[in-house]
């Protein structure tokens, strides 16, 4: 890993010194050994802050949106999931590829910071759930690449957790979700971190519209959960950031994966963020779509 890290620093230095990029987005060491947090570097003198370790799970593509109104040329380090998010943002015309330099970094899976926080120091930390199910560890798009491609450890989407819920009866499902969303404190961390959640005006910020009150209860929280999941349907690239940042351990990906599963079965297999062209499930239709409403 240290080879990649030194190459990352050298690349960042070269980009900043040559003026090819005015800002580099990467990871730096956080306050805990199991935290690696995003960092934005503007000066070649600061490139030694950059790190590459087994906790660089955070998806950096989200931060590209912060630069859409600036004159910056942004270089971004991107794992497989970051590049898929990047593609999806380009496809939604939220960011412009002209302003970005993508430096692909193949990733062999990140460890779960949440698990590490609970384990004693030195214990073996398991891989995070989203990374275990990752099918695209290698960058799908890049201008430069650092390191060697890895062999994906998963080839098929795993919906066993979604199917377990589908198999429950109606009351058990309702009770399960009520329990999960009673824990939710609506801090909106999942929305803020999500590269697919990129509306300019978020419905949940418009409290005067009456869509959502400020009450925190299971009903309002479920409204938030379903609505957010629907807004990212066809956009979710399964990076698992939402669950990573959730302070209440709500299984948000169970909701997103349900939509992914249904989109696959109803409208044909779809992988968000592999291409920047082509039809997107929910802004597109086929006359031959399944008909259940006759």
């Amino acid at each position: 890993m240290s080879d990649i890290q030194s190459e990352m620093r050298a690349t960042a230095k070269q980009l900043l010194e040559s003026g090819e990029a005015t800002v580099v987005i990467g990871w730096e060491k956080g306050t805990m050994p199991y935290n690696s947090t995003p960092v934005m570097i503007r000066s070649a003198a600061d490139v030694d802050k950059l790190i590459w370790d087994e906790y660089c799970q955070q998806n950096l593509s989200t931060y590209l949106i912060d630069f859409i109104y600036t004159e910056d040329k942004v270089a971004i380090f991107a794992k497989g999931c970051d590049t898929r998010a990047y593609n999806r943002l380009i496809q939604d015309k939220r960011i412009s590829a002209d302003k970005c330099i993508v430096i692909g970094v193949p990733c062999s899976g990140m460890k779960s910071a949440k698990a590490a926080a609970k384990l004693p120091e030195g214990a073996e930390v398991p891989m995070s759930k989203a990374c275990k199910e990752c099918r695209y560890p290698n960058p799908v798009v890049f201008d430069r690449k650092i390191g060697q491609d890895v062999t994906p450890w998963c080839t098929e989407k795993d919906f066993s957790d979604v199917e377990a819920i589908e198999a429950m009866d109606q009351d058990a499902k309702a009770a399960f979700w009520k329990e999960q969303y009673t824990k939710c404190i609506r801090c909106y961390a999942c929305r803020n971190i999500c590269p697919a959640c990129n509306c300019t005006n978020c419905i949940f910020d418009q409290s005067a519209s009456g869509w959502q009150s400020k009450d925190i209860n299971a009903s309002e929280n479920q409204f938030y959960g379903v609505t957010r999941a629907f807004h990212v349907a066809g956009r979710c690239i399964e990076c698992g950031q939402c669950e990573m940042v959730c302070p209440s351990d709500v299984p948000i990906m169970l909701m997103n994966k349900k939509f992914i599963k249904d989109i696959d079965t109803l409208f044909g297999a779809y992988e968000a963020g592999l291409e920047t062209e082509g039809p997107v499930p929910l802004s597109h239709y086929e006359v031959s779509d399944p008909e259940e409403f006759m």
């Binding site: 819920i165 009450d215 609505t227 929910l282 239709y285």
Partner: protein
């Protein structure tokens, strides 16, 4: 409220009716003197694709027992393609509501044209009977808010 006891339960059904087909269909049911139970509230929308899935969740939150979204048959949309988008969205959201524990009998999408007064009568009658049989909806309900609203209106 006597309405909440199961034996005299009268369900509240919300119908989102597209302006061009289903609303005309419901109108035809009326002018043809076709009887159906008065448990439905018809809410006219410009097109079935105007119905945001949030409307449906909101309705269940605020005490509606069943929701019907109805629009023109595919191919007949006044705006040419609106109902094709409705179809995609509601195929997904129907499954999501079921996943959240809402009984699938409470939430339907149907194509009802302006000539299908009898179909409107039949669909809503069947739906009311089904919802009556399964009782009031208690899933996703935001009861606290309903009470607060009641106090506000009394003032």
């Amino acid at each position: 409220m006597s309405n909440n006891s199961v034996e005299n339960f009268e369900p509240k059904i919300l119908v989102f009716a597209c302006n061009w087909c289903t609303y005309a269909g419901a109108d035809l049911a009326g002018t043809s003197r076709l009887q159906y139970p008065p448990n439905v509230r018809v809410l006219r929308v410009p097109c079935s694709c105007r119905v945001n899935p949030q409307f449906v969740i909101r309705a269940f939150q605020r005490g509606i027992d069943g929701v019907l979204v109805a629009g023109c048959h595919p191919g007949d949309c006044h705006y040419t393609t609106g109902n094709y988008y409705t179809r995609r969205r509601f195929l997904l959201i129907t499954r999501m509501m079921e996943y959240m524990g809402i009984d699938p009998k409470r939430f339907h999408t149907r194509w009802i044209s302006g000539a299908e007064g009898p179909k409107f009568q039949q669909v809503v009658t069947e739906m009311i009977e089904e919802v009556k049989a399964i009782g009031p909806n208690d899933k996703l309900r935001d009861d606290m808010k309903v009470e607060v609203k009641a106090v506000e209106t009394n003032e």
